[in-house]
Symmetry: C2
Subunit: 151 residues, 2 copies
Amino acid sequence: MIDETDRKILRLLQENARMTNKELAAKLDLSITPVYERVKKLERKGYIKGYSARLDHEKIGKGMMVFMHLKLQVHTHENIRHVIEEVDHLEEVMECYHVTGETDYLLKVMVKDMPAYETFVVEKLTKIKGIANINSSIVMSTVKSTTSLDV
Amino acid sequence: MIDETDRKILRLLQENARMTNKELAAKLDLSITPVYERVKKLERKGYIKGYSARLDHEKIGKGMMVFMHLKLQVHTHENIRHVIEEVDHLEEVMECYHVTGETDYLLKVMVKDMPAYETFVVEKLTKIKGIANINSSIVMSTVKSTTSLDV
DNA sequence: ATTGAAAAAAGAATGGG
DNA sequence: CCCATTCTTTTTTCAAT
């Protein structure tokens, strides 16, 4: 189990993964060694899965975000497996979840702009066999977006 | 503008934000200095917005994810401002987008479990004035989840 | 578990192609 | 824009508590 000191480390590393052990130690009122040991433990035990650079979507040409609700034609094991496999390979699909409710799957898709989105839908998504229905919610603006969980 | 070398650096740092300049240099067949200069430039120009630790949702007690579609009662400037302000303050809300389609806002919510979700809905979300309607899609399983954009 | 110190590695800064 | 070198800082290990 992890204690409050570990949770503080996780909070700080969520905000800045490149914070040095020295900086962490200063904020936690500890010496460097225990901080070093704790970070290694959190990595080893899988609390920390990795470290990522956060990029500017607009600047790197992924300024358009769309949430797409997919409904399957038939819910056979084979159809589910096939659709999942195909969706997984699409680089535009950042996230895909099996969800409860009216639809079966929810996808978060990121593309450059509207023409790129149309190409994605026409050339890739609708070519996947087994999808009955697609309902899209285009993101007009981002009210809030964080990757930092309340640990 | 950025070139292919810059894009490779962004790709690698998305996967591992703690990769050293030495490792980057080896993968790019460059010496350390240009790599150092390029990373600093990408940070300075805002292509890299920051670095985050990726945590294990289950392990830190955020094992339940729900997407919630919100519809507003009235679309006055004042009501929109109020709802946005309140939603922004909720720690369970990781993302909130203004979207096209049937509903107005899409929220990604992360909580510990079903009781915590019920508490969130009853004690927090439904206490916000101005929300007409909530439609929830509970995540049963994650088919794909990546933070690495195809740069 | 934490401290302090020492060795190894990486980062920052500089002068030159 | 890139390379090589030096200087500084950080990471990592280890003895001691």
